[in-house]
């Protein structure tokens, strides 16, 4: 498939010892292409989806810790009445940045990490459709996240709440630059998500292995695909909203100025049209992950695969029609409220279908409770709680009592933490051996899990109570008077929630400890086998970790759970089934390697994505501080795009033959 134009050879006869005449080949491009395969440059300029996925995950984990520290400070402030740990101003910044960091800089990129790493592997491809674009997504996210957090040092973080209602977000009410950093930072990370979405959609639609129809794709890829479609349409909406906000604040527009006739509800509608699909963007990847984990550890296929696929797509569709359930108290008329109330109830149905299917997957199975499985079952339990409290808010009159109180905080933490985050942790434990070549310790993993569950329920469980009993959210203090009488008053539960936070923090810490124990120098953990869990899908037909080219030969797919069917054969007759193992996982992989493709072509690394990504924060600083920076950043961006376009898609002589080099995974790419 790779067609490389080789320039015409110039038949120069050069006298020995004289300077070499420049040839056409060496005149292409501006900067020499990066060619290193080891060291930091092989990470910084890589276009390999696996390395990019790992970097996404590492940076997302870093932001998880930051967001967790912000949460810890919030809870410390609310541990007792009239807290003094944070001033009102700092508290407002803290909860805004906590939510923004967790949603945009942790959960979304972590899901992108899994999607990046595993979509190509699960569909039998060697990389995504646009590898340099993939690198661009990563670096734009990294620089955008860093840019957003430099606000802490440059006048304070954003302080208007993570949904930043107008007109509180306009300059007279938020005079510091925090909101500007927020608006610009999210526009930048939005570019990363949008570009990644396009990339993965094209990958899934075009690069599946032969024989893999859409309904034979692994379920994680399906859910991640739905998520990318949601991102494709949702990110432009938030970008528009942020654009309007940026113009309102930085260039004197009056989109949200009430004295000029504007309606503040415009922002709310724009934000929530994005915001509701956003929550499905957060949770569907985790649904996909546990839809992979549960079958493997139940030794049964996913129950009702078509139903799970269609319910995921249905959630994606119907999710666009429920946004105003975030606005039940905002003064929409009764008709609108009634319509959105019913629509929100409707969306509980496909979600319920998934829960049913997961439970029925386990039903009649052979359940092995590894840490990954524990997290998966944990997700079902916690998400059910969150989902049921969600149904109580779908009832609009009840929601007018519940919205903007801690009951809502409880709900969304149960569905985001108990849903999205537990799913991500399940994915960590499940896929860690494949990514890093070692199994995480099950012992530490169990402690990790139970402490997280205990911490999570202790932190967010009581919030249901204090919300229903009248504690609103986003208050930098709570008072004794409004806390009620009795031992179990709101003060008690606030304290319990704070204690729970620390238990939760310890639980998360144990995850990091687990990583350290497993990978530290001198660790006694043996290398993991290629198929430690006796799994079912294509990504396991690779070594652990996979070679740079993923598959020795592109797999031919004939059914869903292809890997499982290569290992096991049904020898039962008629209605009775008996499964006999014909090959082990290692044997399947070995067989593939014995029949390897002779000519494997991989995309070549490049500087340009990082340069282009670098120009974006410069332009953003320019919007806040000085217009000349916009020009400078713009110039760098244009130059980077120019350089990128000039650079050939393939480095010359980048083909190599893995069967030829005695097991080495790659050799130096030729100098271009």
């Amino acid at each position: 498939m790779a067609i490389i134009e080789r320039p015409a050879e110039t038949p120069d006869a050069r006298p020995a010892g004289t300077a070499q005449a420049p040839t056409a080949a060496t005149n292409y491009g501006y900067l020499r292409r990066p060619v290193e395969t080891t060291g930091w440059r092989s990470w910084a300029f890589t276009v390999d989806h696996k390395k990019i996925g790992i970097m996404y995950g590492a940076v997302a984990m870093f932001f998880f810790i930051i967001g967790g520290l912000e949460a810890g400070l919030i809870r410390l402030q609310l541990a007792g009445p009239d807290g003094t740990i944070l001033s009102a101003d700092k508290y407002n910044q803290m909860f805004t940045m906590h939510a923004t960091t967790m949603v945009f800089l942790f959960v979304m990129p972590m899901a992108a990490a899994f999607a990046n790493y595993f979509i190509p592997l699960q569909i039998g491809a060697r990389d995504v459709a646009f590898p340099r674009l993939n690198a661009l997504s990563l670096w734009v996210f990294v620089f955008g996240g860093v840019f957003l957090n430099t606000s802490w040092f440059l006048g304070g973080g954003a302080d208007g709440g993570w949904f930043m209602y107008a007109p509180n977000s306009s300059v007279p009410f938020s005079p510091t630059n925090g909101v500007d950093f927020w608006a610009l930072g999210l526009q930048i990370t939005g570019i990363a998500s949008l570009v990644g979405a396009i990339n993965l959609i094209v990958t899934v639609l075009n690069m599946r292995a032969p024989g893999m129809s859409m309904m034979k794709m692994p379920i994680f890829t399906w859910m991640a695909f739905v998520v990318q479609m949601l991102l494709l349409f949702a990110i432009p909406v938030i970008t528009v909203a942020l654009f309007l906000l940026m113009f309102q604040r930085s260039f004197g527009a009056t989109f949200f100025s009430v004295e000029a006739g504007a309606d503040p509800l415009l922002w709310q509608h724009l934000f929530w049209i994005f915001g509701h699909p956003e929550v499905y963007i957060l949770v569907l990847p985790s649904f996909g992950i546990i839809s992979e984990v549960l079958p493997v550890f139940s030794k049964k296929p996913l129950f009702g695969y078509p139903f799970v696929v269609f319910s995921g797509a249905a959630i994606g569709f119907v999710g666009w029609g429920v946004w105003a359930h975030h606005m039940f108290a905002s003064g929409l008329g009764p008709v609108s409220v009634a319509v959105f109330s019913v629509a929100t109830m409707a969306i509980a149905v496909p979600t319920g279908v998934k829960i049913i299917n997961w439970t029925l997957t386990m039903w009649g199975g052979k359940l092995k409770f590894t840490t990954a499985m524990l997290f998966a079952v944990g997700l079902i339990v916690q998400f059910t709680i969150g989902g049921l409290s969600g149904v109580t808010h779908a009832v609009a009159p009840s929601d007018t009592q519940q919205t903007d109180t801690y009951y809502i905080v409880a709900h969304f933490h149960y569905v985001i933490f108990g849903g999205a985050v537990l799913g991500l942790f399940s994915g960590f434990y499940y896929w860690w051996p494949k990514i890093f070549g070692k199994l995480l310790s099950e012992g530490w993993g169990k402690w990790n899990f139970w402490l997280m569950i205990a911490g999570m329920n202790l932190t967010f469980g009581p919030m249901h109570i204090i919300g229903l009993q009248g504690q609103p959210r986003r208050m930098y203090v709570w008072t004794e008077f409004r806390a009620g009488e009795g031992f179990f008053n709101l003060g008690f539960w606030n304290l319990v929630a704070t204690i729970g936070t620390f238990i939760l923090a310890v639980g998360v810490l144990l995850f990091l400890v687990n990583i350290w124990i497993t990978h530290r120098p001198g660790s006694k953990t043996p290398p993991a086998p290629a198929d430690p869990w006796d799994a079912r899908s294509l990504e396991w037909i690779t070594s652990s970790p996979p070679k740079e080219y993923n598959f020795a030969r592109t797999p031919q797919v004939s059914e869903l759970d292809e890997f499982f069917h290569r290992k096991y054969e049904d020898v039962g007759e008629g209605d009775s089934h008996e499964y006999v193992q014909r090959m082990t996982g290692e044997e399947v992989i070995q067989h593939e390697e014995d029949n390897a493709d002779p000519n494997i072509h991989l995309p070549a690394p490049s500087y340009w994505p990082m340069v282009l990504a670098f120009s974006l924060p410069i332009m953003a600083y320019g919007v806040i501080y000085n217009t000349l920076l916009i020009v400078a950043g713009g110039a760098i961006a244009v130059m980077a795009m120019f350089g990128w376009a000039l650079e050939p898609a393939d480095a010359e002589q980048s083909d190599y033959d893995p069967t030829d080099d005695g097991g080495e995974t790659s050799k130096e790419l030729a100098n271009v």
Partner: protein, 402 residues
């Protein structure tokens, strides 16, 4: 001929000079200009030394290999860029003595021609094969040329079309647009379904079309725009004193269609019997005699005209102070001297601070955002203040601001 070191120094010196010019134009501070010029001179001096010493690099002086290679032996090909560069230089000088815009055009030509010249020269040293060199030049320059030229071409055509649109009468513009669009669609379909249309035919048709548009656009632009009336706005109405009069002025017949979906606002309706009624979300207070508006609040009020004449709604705040009257008159004087307004239009001297809608046709509506800073008990509450009225009728609505 120039070694690497010389190139760097010369380039830096040029850059410092350019920076000094740009800095001087934008900031104008002496110390910056002096610093940059000093840097430029110093670097030029160093560059001079280095050109002579050739980086003190003996092997760099051995340019025989390069000088004897095929690529170098080939004589340079024909090129128009030196001529265009010359044209640009001349235009710059011309512009210095005539207009700024000619100077700018000249600078643009200089930069473009200079860049093209440099790229061509560089490409010619790639090899001795003309076609390969052309290919190299294209690979480098086309990604910049095509978008820029395309943007310029589209810009010119769009601008020309806009002049045509401004020249035709309003209804004719619709026809022109529809006809042109249909024509383009027909031609496009024709080309699409004819598998073997000659390239020359397509170029001819497109070229002809472009020339036609540009030519007619130029003609229309020279002839001038049609007469476009500037509507009165609520701001001009207040300043011109139109708020108190039922006169027409130049109002936009479609003004009432500018109210989008506005809910949860106050509504004031002029009934068929020329009375003002107000409505609020929820029930109107029974027994209320005046409309209550909160103070210092951006109140959104929708005015509906259910009578059978064109009417406006006016709110009277208070009388203007002497100083304010003088200011407004002075501003109007300035405008009528500098602008093209018809100075024979009689407008009454504005004496009261009022805010109003434009004239609304029967059945129409318009939004007004009213912020009242003082309460009703304020001393500036004379007989005419704190009320809505419709000029030309007796309709009146008292406002109470607690």
């Amino acid at each position: 001929m120039f070694t690497t070191g010389s190139k760097i120094l010369i380039g830096s010196s040029v850059l410092a000079t350019v920076a000094a010019i740009v800095y001087g134009i934008s900031q104008g501070e002496a110390i910056g200009i002096v610093g940059l010029i000093s840097a430029a001179i110093a670097l030029a001096l160093l560059a001079g030394f280095n050109v002579w010493a050739r980086d003190s690099n003996l092997s760099a002086t051995d340019t025989t290999g390069i000088a004897t290679s095929d690529a170098a032996i080939e004589p340079p090909g024909a090129s128009i860029w030196p001529m265009v560069f010359g044209v640009g230089a001349t235009t710059v000088l011309l512009g210095l003595v005539t207009q700024q815009s000619i100077f700018t055009i000249g600078v643009v030509i200089l930069i473009a021609a200079g860049a093209q010249w440099m790229v061509q020269a560089w490409a010619e040293s790639a090899s001795s094969d003309r076609r390969v060199n052309a290919d190299v030049r294209d690979r480098v320059a086309n990604p910049l040329e095509y978008p820029l030229l395309g943007a310029v071409a589209v810009g010119i055509i769009a601008f020309a079309f806009s002049r045509i649109m401004l020249w035709l009468s309003k209804t004719n513009t619709v026809y022109a647009f529809v006809i042109l669009a249909t024509l383009i669609a027909l031609i496009a379909f024709f080309f699409a379904f004819r598998p073997s249309v000659k390239r020359g035919a397509i170029s001819a048709v497109l070229g002809l079309g472009a020339v036609a548009i540009v030519a007619s656009g130029t003609a229309a632009g020279v002839d001038g725009e049609r007469d476009i009336h500037v509507h009165e706005t609520t701001t001009t109405a207040a300043v011109e004193g139109l708020c108190a009069s039922p006169e027409k002025g130049e109002f936009d017949e479609k003004a009432s269609q500018t109210v989008g979906t506005k809910s949860s606002t106050y509504t004031i309706t002029l009934t068929a019997s020329d009375e003002l009624e107000f409505d609020v979300p929820g029930p109107v207070e029974v027994g209320a005699v005046a409309m209550v508006l909160p103070r210092s609040n951006p109140n959104n009020i929708v005015f509906r005209n259910d009578s059978d004449e064109e009417r406006r709604l006016t709110y009277d705040f208070r009388a203007l102070t002497e100083d304010e009257i003088i200011e407004i008159e002075a501003a109007k004087e300035d405008e009528s001297h500098g602008g093209e307004g018809e100075s024979d239009e009689e407008h009454s001297t504005v004496e009261r601070f009022q805010q109003c809608t434009t004239l609304i046709e029967p059945g129409g509506a318009q939004l007004m955002t009213l912020l009242i800073a003082e309460p009703s008990i304020s001393p500036s509450n004379d007989d005419e203040a704190f009320r809505f009225f419709v000029p030309g009728t007796d309709a009146e609505l008292e406002v109470m601001v607690p």
